[in-house]
């Protein structure tokens, strides 16, 4: 399938973002978008049942952008997308803050859902980002621990290794 490659937005930044505004921007002034999926990943206030103070996100500048862009292009080749936005933050994030967003626009919902899930599964396992949690460890010190990669995330990413033979909405 040759998808027409449409403009995509990929940003890695320290600053917060407005997921709703970014999603609205994807379909502003157009009527061909019939489905818009937005996923936002948020810093939880606990990890493994322990309250956390903050999440530190380290990344590999240069490679992180390239990896995300490569996967956006792959998503555009696999599904007929009308727009894609991926924003991933780095640095220190506190509970309640947004970490990442993926927004996908398409004519039909299956393509938008599938592409958003594909991008998130790949971001978790292939984009060079590493999370470290800061736990409250007492009065004067903070316990820090690197988040371990989950085999379940690898399994989720691996299921995209085989291109779909038939899209469920192909007949719509």
């Amino acid at each position: 399938m040759t998808a027409s490659i449409v403009a995509a937005t990929v940003r890695l930044q320290r600053e917060p973002f407005d997921a709703a505004a970014e999603a609205t921007e994807l379909r502003r002034g157009r009527t061909d978008v019939g489905a818009l999926v937005t996923f936002t990943g948020i810093c939880r206030g606990d990890e493994g049942g322990k309250p956390l103070i903050a999440l530190m996100l380290e990344h590999y500048p240069g490679m992180a952008e390239a990896e995300v862009e490569r996967h956006v292009v792959e998503a555009q080749q696999r599904w007929p997308l009308l727009g894609v936005t991926v924003i991933h933050r780095y640095g220190r994030l506190e509970p309640g803050e947004e970490i990442v967003m993926v927004a996908t626009a398409a004519s039909h919902r299956h393509d938008a859902f599938a592409a958003a899930e594909f991008l998130m599964d790949y971001l978790k396992t292939r984009a060079p980002f590493w999370k470290q949690v800061e736990y409250a460890g007492g009065k004067a010190w903070v316990e820090k621990r690197w988040v371990e990669a989950k085999a379940s995330d690898d399994a989720l990413a691996d299921r995209w290794a085989e291109p779909p033979s038939k899209r469920p909405d192909a007949a719509e």
């Binding site: 590999y60 292939r126 984009a127």
Partner: protein
Amino acid sequence: MKVRYFAWVRERIGKEEEDIDPPAGVATVGELMAWLSRRGDEYAHAFENPKVIRAALDRSHVRADAALTGAREIAFFPPMTGG
């Protein structure tokens, strides 16, 4: 050749990056890990379980058997936990 370290690999080695000049016999990513791990306790600690260490050559993911030929930058890091 420039080497960059991230997350706990960086913490264990105590450096973000350095320039290295491995001997001619070090031809692959895996051989470079073995060579680095002999440079001191901090390196031995970082590479004690080479199977879990991921690598990128010139900012592309590679496996341990990838050849170093012509690479300008190599990075070592733990499995990624973004998203």
